[in-house]
Subunit: 194 residues, 2 copies
């Protein structure tokens, strides 16, 4: 039983998530991250080589998580409508559960150094490709209307991702309600006259 709570490495990362999400990577001083974690700034360097490493670990962990979840959906389900539905659910579930983390993924790509940026963008690309696979397959099987697969994937990902910016746990809507609203918008559209 660990009375001090999580290991320091985790505490630092969590403090970084908080600060990066609230003030942005560049505007968040390492000293403040250290203060929240309950140590001195210099002590961070025992756990991480530099500030950038914090950002990279946050982004990588969660992009991998996101990809794994979607991969799982593709393995478990076969029917296009169900696949898309579960993909939306998985995406929104993760973006509300790890709200701050995904907000960082979505707003701090520019703050990454070139090699790190390439790495994270590759993970994002993988994700987009998986979504596009669902759409392409669904169009071929005549479940979805024919349309631009790439742009459609961007649109779906963009709207489901933005949930992380406005969703408040304990607010007017539950995660499940939000998922249902998005499912309907994406799958059925707004028109009443169908």
């Amino acid at each position: 039983m660990r009375l001090e709570g999580a290991p320091m490495r985790e505490q630092i990362l969590e403090a970084a998530v908080q600060m990066f999400a609230e003030y942005g990577y560049h505007a968040a001083p390492l000293r403040d991250i250290a203060r929240i974690a309950g140590i001195q700034a210099a002590s961070i360097y025992h756990h991480y080589p530099n500030k950038q490493a914090l950002l990279v670990e946050i982004m990588e962990t969660h992009m991998v998580r996101l990809n794994a979840a979607l991969q799982h959906v593709l393995e478990v389900y076969d029917e296009p409508l169900q696949r898309l539905s579960e993909a939306i659910s998985s995406h929104i579930r993760l973006h509300t559960t790890y709200k701050n983390e995904f907000f960082i993924v979505d707003t701090e790509i520019r703050a990454l150094e070139p090699e790190n940026k390439a790495h994270i963008l590759a993970l994002r690309d993988t994700y987009e490709k998986l979504v596009q696979e669902i759409l392409r397959d669904g169009i071929e099987r005549k479940v979805f209307r024919p349309g631009d697969v790439k742009v459609t994937s961007y649109a779906i990902i963009a709207m489901c991702t933005e949930v992380a910016t406005w969703f408040r746990p304990g607010g007017r809507l539950s995660v499940l309600q939000v998922i249902e609203i998005y499912r309907q918008i994406i799958i059925e559209g707004l028109l009443a006259t169908h």
Copy 2:
């Protein structure tokens, strides 16, 4: 006839747009902005009181522009479907024409000092309210399916806004094609079986 091109004030602002969009507000040194504008950093202070003023002017100008365009749509059109269609068109048109500017509006809200932030968020709120008015009216007149007006407005705005991040003039798709794709996704949804 002005051989030097635009007045310096404009040149500085344009340089700021470029740098803020590429590196982010905090990561963009005033010296670099000055260099692009062809002057020394100190000279910027003859035209603007400080760095923050550059950011505020960029954001305010374009949020006002966005609101004016949507206001115009509401005044000119009455039919809900046409209103929504024109709103999408207006939004995407502006977000592709002033790609960098709206990218900044969308990613640097956090970099604003409190009073400036309140001001810009108020403008954004006005915009959201206008979109919600279109949706509410359309639902009442049975043109749109009943649904959560607020969340739907967020979803529409989010996906149309993100166009600014991937759109490249002269790329595979023209602005008009992009607008048509988004119209269809939003209004009709993905299902083929309607």
